[in-house]
C-alpha cells in the first residue's frame, strides 16, 4: 500500500470509523450482508478481536495520524451486544485513536432486541445516534420480510430511546415490497413521522442474488413491483418527506437540516475510513481493503496478532475520479466541480462534455449545473444508476 503520497481527495480532514457486528438472531430473507445468525455465544471472543484490531491500527503510521469524527456500529445487529461490550469497544477506540470533541457515534439496533436499560447503557457508553431497523409499521409486511419484531416494538423502542436520552434517531424503512400498495407505504411514512425521528432511510427493496427472497422471486412465488410502481413510490417519498421538512440529501436518505448522517457522508465525499470487524471495508484515500468475511477466521487472525485483511485494491486516478462522480451524484449537493478541478487538474465539463450534453438533452433533463456543482434533477434521481454509468 502506498502511503508516501497524500491522498488526492484529502479535502475532508477527519476520518470515519466503522465497526461491523455480524451477529443476528435470525437472518432476514432479503439480506445479503455478512451476518451470522444465532451465534451469540461467540460475541465475547469477537469483541476481544475488535479490541485487538483497534490496537493494531494504533501503531499504524497512517491510521494513527487520523482524527476520527464518527463511529458507526453496523451489522448484523449491533444491539445484540450488551452496553458493556459497546463500552469496551469504545474504550479501545478512545485509547487507540484520536476522536474529535463531539463525534457522531451511531449504533444500529433492531426494535424488540433492546430493553430500556440497554438503551440507557448504550447512551451512557457514548452512543449518541440510534438507527432503528424499523422497515415497516405493518405486521404482515414485517412477517413478509422475515423480521422478528412487530410494529408496536418500533413505537416502544423509540419511546424508550427518547427516555434514555437519544435525540438523534433514524428509522430504516423499506418500500416496494412485493404487492405493496401506495396507501400502505404512505401509512408507513406517516407512522414513522409520528415518532418524530431526525432522520429516515427509505430503501427500495432490492432483490439481491442469493437471498431467499430472490429465490422466491425466481421461482415465481413473489412478484416484484413494476418499474412504474417503484417510481411512483420513490417520487411520493421524496415529495411527502420534503413537505414534512426532511431534506432528501442522498438517494435513500432524508434528514431534518443538521441531522444528516455525518458518518455516511464521509463515504460519499471521499474521506478516509477505517473498518473494524469481519468483512469491514476501509479506504485510505488510495487503497480500499477489506477484512475476511468469516468471523471465526477474523478472530483467529487477530488472536495470532495479525490483521484480518482479505484483499485490497488500489484505485487508479481514473477510478478515483469515477467514484467521486458517482458518489457525488447520489447526494443532493452533487459533484463539486471546483474540488474536481483541484483534485484532477482537469475541467469537469470539458472532460465529460458528451455525457453531460446527453443528460441535459434528456426530456426532462437528468442533471443540472448550478453554483459549480453537477446535480441530479428529480428525474435524474430516479435514474441515478443509468446516469452514473454515463460517466464510467
Amino acid at each position: 500500500m502506498s502511503r508516501s503520497q497524500q491522498p488526492i481527495k484529502g479535502a475532508m480532514q477527519t476520518a470515519a470509523l466503522y465497526i461491523h457486528i455480524p451477529f443476528c438472531e435470525k437472518r432476514c430473507n432479503y439480506c445479503d450482508f455478512y451476518t451470522v445468525a444465532n451465534r451469540k455465544e461467540a460475541i465475547p471472543r469477537y469483541v476481544q478481536a475488535l479490541e485487538r484490531e483497534m490496537a493494531l491500527y494504533a501503531s499504524d503510521p497512517f491510521w494513527s495520524r487520523q482524527t476520527f469524527a464518527t463511529v458507526f456500529f453496523g451489522g448484523g445487529t449491533p444491539s445484540l451486544l450488551d452496553p458493556e461490550d459497546i463500552d469496551r469497544i469504545l474504550d479501545a477506540v478512545r485509547s487507540n485513536v484520536r476522536l474529535i470533541p463531539e463525534p457522531e457515534i451511531t449504533l444500529e439496533a433492531n426494535p424488540g432486541t433492546t430493553t430500556a436499560a440497554h438503551l440507557a447503557g448504550y447512551r451512557a457508553a457514548g452512543i449518541n445516534r440510534l438507527s432503528l431497523g424499523a422497515q415497516s409499521f405493518w405486521d404482515d409486511e414485517l412477517e413478509q420480510l422475515d423480521r422478528l419484531h412487530r410494529s408496536a416494538d418500533i413505537v416502544r423502542t423509540v419511546e424508550e430511546a427518547r427516555a434514555a436520552g437519544f435525540d438523534n434517531i433514524n428509522l430504516d424503512l423499506m418500500f416496494a415490497l412485493p404487492g405493496q400498495r401506495p396507501s400502505r407505504w404512505k401509512a408507513n411514512l406517516e407512522n414513522a413521522l409520528a415518532l418524530q425521528p431526525q432522520h429516515l432511510s427509505c430503501y427500495n427493496l432490492t432483490l439481491e442474488e442469493g437471498t431467499p427472497l430472490y429465490k422466491l422471486f425466481m421461482a415465481g412465488r413473489v412478484r416484484a413491483l413494476t418499474e412504474w410502481r417503484e417510481r411512483v413510490l420513490f417520487n411520493f417519498t421524496i415529495d411527502f418527506l420534503e413537505t414534512h421538512g426532511l431534506v432528501h440529501y442522498e438517494i435513500s436518505n432524508y434528514a431534518l437540516p443538521g441531522y444528516e448522517c455525518r458518518h455516511n457522508i464521509k463515504y460519499w465525499d471521499g474521506s478516509v475510513y477505517l473498518g473494524l470487524g469481519a468483512s469491514a471495508h476501509s479506504y485510505d484515500g488510495q487503497t480500499r481493503f477489506w477484512n475476511v468475511s468469516n468471523y471465526v477466521h477474523y478472530c483467529e487472525r487477530l488472536e495470532k496478532g495479525r490483521r484480518a485483511v482479505d484483499a485490497r485494491e488500489t484505485l487508479t486516478p481514473e477510478q478515483q475520479r469515477f467514484e467521486m462522480i458517482f458518489l457525488g451524484l447520489r447526494r443532493k449537493r452533487g459533484v463539486d466541480l471546483q474540488q474536481f478541478r483541484r483534485g484532477f487538474q482537469q475541467d469537469f465539463l470539458q472532460a465529460y462534455a458528451r455525457p453531460v450534453e446527453r443528460l441535459l438533452q434528456h426530456d426532462p433533463p437528468l442533471v443540472e449545473i448550478r453554483e459549480d456543482h453537477l446535480r441530479l434533477t428529480r428525474e435524474g434521481r430516479l435514474l441515478c444508476d443509468a446516469v452514473c454509468a454515463e460517466f464510467a
Partner: protein
C-alpha cells in the same frame, strides 16, 4: 519420367467418410512419409481445417509405388476441398487427374456432396475406383452401399473395393487398382508448354507457388513462362515435386504434377484454372475450363474498435496472400465506421475468414448480415452489380433487378420429403426432380435463389432430417426477381448496416420479425428507442423500446462502493462494445439480428 508410369488421381468423399485417413494410409504404405512424421491427416495442414474435419485448400503429394508387376510408378494424389463453397477448385483438381477414388462410408451410404463431385469427375472423364470404407464398423451395410454405388456409376460388384482405412485394410488393393485401372496421362511432349494451375499458395520467402499439372511440353528453371489470363511473363526459378516438403527437380514433363516458383509476388497472378505456357513458344489455346472465381456472398467486416481499421486491412492483405478467392474493398458505414466489404465463396468460407482474423490476428470484428450480388437493370439500360444493399440505386431509376439462382441437390431419407418440400417452399424453391438413390433415399433437385440458402438453410435442413440429409448446389445464373430493399431505422435514422434486400412477398414478415428481434437485443436505455422497418419511405413495422423509468441502487455505503463501481465499470465495458447511433447504444449482436430471425 515415362508418362506410362504416372498415375494422377484424387479422392472423392463426403466429410467424415474417411478421405483424409485413406490418404494417410497411402502415404504410409508408399513410404512417402514415416509414421513418426505423421500428424494425423497430413494433407490438412491448417488447424482450423482439422477442427472442422474438412479440407479447405487442395494440396498434392507425389508417391512412389512398386506394383505387383515390379514396375515403380509415380502416383500423384491431388487433394480436393470437401465443401460446396469450393466447387470450382474441386473442378480444377479433377481436371488435373485421370482417375478418382470414390470413397463411400459403408454405414452412411452415398451423400449429395459425393454425388455432385462424382458427376463432375465423370464429366471430366475420370476413371472411378469405388471403395467402400469403414467396412469393419458394426453399422456397415455393405450390400446396400454396394448397390447404391453400382447404381450410381454403373459398375460391376467386382469392381468395388472394400477397405478400412483406419485399420489399413484394403490399402494394397487400392494401390494396385490405381496402377491397373487409371490410365496414364496423355499429352504431347513436343508441343508448347501447357500446365494447369490447380492450386497455389504463398510462401513468405519465395512468393506465390503454383501447383501445376503439365499437360503438354515441359517446364524447367530458367524458362520464360506466361500466364494466359493475365498475360504476365515470369522466369522460372524452380520446379519440383511435392512430397512432405517441396523437392526441386530439373524439369516437369507431360503428365507430371508438382510446383513452380517464378518470383511471382501475388497469388492473384497464379489463378486456379489458369494455364501456364512457354512465353517464347506459346500454345495457341489455353486449357479449357478456366473461370474467374467470383464471390457468391458478401458481408461487411468492421473492427469493433474503430482504431483497428489498419490492422484489419493488414490481416486481410495477409490472408489474401494465400487465398486468391478472398476479395475486399474498403467500405464506410454510417453505423459501423470504416471497414471492408468482403466477398466470399460461401458462408463457410466467410466463417473461416472471420475465425482466422479473430484467432490468428487477434482482431475483434463485426460481420454484417451476408448478402448475394444483385444485378440492377436501370431504366437507362445500364446494368450494375450491387453487393451492398446500401448501394442499391434509388427505386425511381431501377427497371428491374436480377438475383443469382442455384440448382440444389438434396439427398434425404424419403420420410423427410414432406418437411423438405415445406422448407423449400418457404425459401422460394422451384421443384425440379426426384429420383431414388436406393429404396429408402431420394435425390431431390430444386432451384433456389441463392439469397434464400445463405443464412441457415443448411442448418434447418440438417435439423429437420436429424442430420441425414445432405446438400450441394451450383450456381446456374441470374433471374429477374421482385426484390426490395428493407431499411431498418433507429429513431428515424436508417442504419445502413442493417439494410438488406428481400423478396417483396417476405418483406412484411421479415420487417416485423427483425424489429421484434432488435427490441430483444437492444437493452433499455435512458432514451426511447424506436425501431422501424421501411421499404422506401413506407414504414411497414415498428417496435419501441421504452426508456428506463427507474434505475437506482438503494444502498451505497463504505462496503458497497467497490462492488458498485465494478458494476458500473462492467457496464462501461459492455458499452464500449456497443455502437453509438445518435443517442442510442446498439450492441454488436443487433447487427446480426437478421440472422437470428426465425
Amino acid at each position: 519420367m515415362k508418362t506410362e508410369q504416372i498415375r494422377n488421381f484424387c479422392i472423392i468423399a463426403h466429410i467424415d467418410h474417411g478421405k483424409s485417413t485413406l490418404a494417410d494410409r497411402l502415404l504410409e504404405r508408399t513410404r512417402t512419409i514415416r509414421e513418426s512424421e505423421m500428424k494425423d491427416q497430413v494433407l490438412d495442414d491448417m488447424d482450423l481445417e482439422r477442427e472442422r474435419g474438412i479440407t479447405i485448400k487442395a494440396h498434392a503429394v507425389t508417391m512412389k509405388y512398386t506394383a505387383k508387376d515390379r514396375q515403380t510408378y509415380t502416383l500423384n494424389l491431388i487433394d480436393t476441398p470437401g465443401h460446396v463453397d469450393f466447387a470450382y477448385e474441386v473442378s480444377r483438381s479433377l481436371a488435373a487427374c485421370e482417375g478418382a477414388i470414390l470413397v463411400v462410408d459403408a454405414s452412411q451410404g452415398v451423400e449429395a456432396q459425393t454425388i455432385s463431385n462424382l458427376y463432375q469427375a465423370i464429366e471430366h472423364d475420370l476413371t472411378i475406383i469405388p471403395v467402400l470404407n469403414k467396412i469393419d464398423l458394426p453399422g456397415a451395410e455393405i450390400d446396400k452401399a454396394k448397390h447404391q454405388v453400382m447404381e450410381l456409376i454403373g459398375c460391376d460388384e467386382s469392381e468395388i473395393l472394400l477397405a478400412s482405412a483406419k485399420n489399413g485394410m484394403g490399402i494394397e488393393d487400392i494401390l494396385e487398382a490405381i496402377v491397373e485401372r487409371i490410365p496414364p496421362p496423355k499429352g504431347h511432349a513436343d508441343a508448347p508448354l501447357r500446365a494447369l494451375i490447380f492450386d497455389s499458395m504463398y510462401d513468405a520467402y519465395r512468393g506465390a507457388v503454383a501447383y501445376i499439372r503439365v499437360m503438354d511440353g515441359e517446364i524447367r528453371p530458367g524458362m520464360q513462362i506466361q500466364f494466359f489470363t493475365t498475360g504476365k511473363v515470369f522466369e522460372v526459378d524452380e520446379v519440383g515435386i511435392l512430397r512432405l516438403r517441396r523437392e526441386p527437380v530439373d524439369r516437369l514433363g507431360v503428365g507430371e504434377v508438382g510446383y513452380c516458383i517464378a518470383g511471382i509476388k501475388d497469388v492473384k497472378d497464379t489463378r486456379v484454372g489458369d494455364t501456364i505456357t512457354d512465353a517464347k513458344n506459346p500454345a495457341p489455346e489455353p486449357l479449357p475450363g478456366y473461370r474467374d472465381v467470383k464471390p457468391m456472398v458478401y458481408a461487411g467486416m468492421f473492427p469493433t474498435n474503430n482504431e483497428e481499421f489498419e490492422e484489419l486491412r493488414n490481416a486481410l492483405d495477409k490472408l489474401s496472400l494465400n487465398d486468391a478467392s478472398l476479395v475486399y474493398e474498403p467500405e464506410t458505414s454510417v453505423a459501423l465506421g470504416f471497414g471492408f466489404r468482403v466477398g466470399f465463396l460461401g458462408l463457410l468460407h466467410m466463417e473461416i475468414v472471420q475465425e482466422r482474423l479473430e484467432r490468428e490476428y487477434n482482431l475483434d470484428i463485426l460481420t454484417t448480415v451476408p448478402n448475394v450480388e444483385y444485378l440492377v437493370h436501370k431504366t437507362n439500360g445500364d446494368v450494375v452489380a450491387v453487393d451492398n444493399p446500401a448501394e442499391l440505386p434509388s427505386r425511381g431509376i431501377i427497371d428491374y433487378i436480377e438475383e443469382p439462382y442455384i440448382s440444389a441437390q438434396i439427398i434425404t431419407p424419403s420420410e423427410y420429403i414432406g418437411n423438405i418440400m415445406k422448407l423449400a417452399q418457404d425459401r422460394r424453391g422451384i421443384y425440379k426432380n426426384t429420383s431414388y438413390v436406393d429404396p429408402t433415399r431420394v435425390d431431390l433437385t430444386y432451384e433456389f435463389p441463392l439469397a434464400e440458402i445463405i443464412f441457415d438453410f443448411y442448418d434447418k435442413l440438417k435439423s429437420m432430417t436429424r442430420g441425414y440429409a445432405s446438400f450441394d448446389y451450383e450456381f446456374i445464373g441470374y433471374r429477374k426477381s421482385d426484390v426490395v430493399k428493407l431499411d431498418i431505422l433507429i429513431n428515424g435514422e436508417p442504419v445502413d448496416a442493417l439494410s438488406h434486400i428481400v423478396h417483396r412477398d417476405k418483406a412484411y414478415e421479415w420487417g416485423r420479425k427483425i424489429c421484434e428481434k432488435l427490441r430483444e437485443l437492444i437493452p433499455r436505455q435512458l432514451f426511447e428507442v424506436a425501431i422501424q422497418a421501411a421499404i422506401g419511405s413506407r414504414v411497414i413495422a415498428r417496435e419501441t423500446i421504452r426508456p428506463l423509468r427507474k434505475n437506482v441502487t438503494a444502498k451505497c455505503y463504505g462496503g458497497d462502493i467497490t462492488r458498485k463501481r465494478k458494476l458500473l465499470e462492467k457496464q462501461k465495458e459492455g458499452k464500449k462494445r456497443m455502437k453509438q447511433l445518435g443517442r442510442v447504444e446498439i450492441p454488436q449482436e443487433a447487427f446480426l439480428a437478421v440472422l437470428k430471425v426465425e
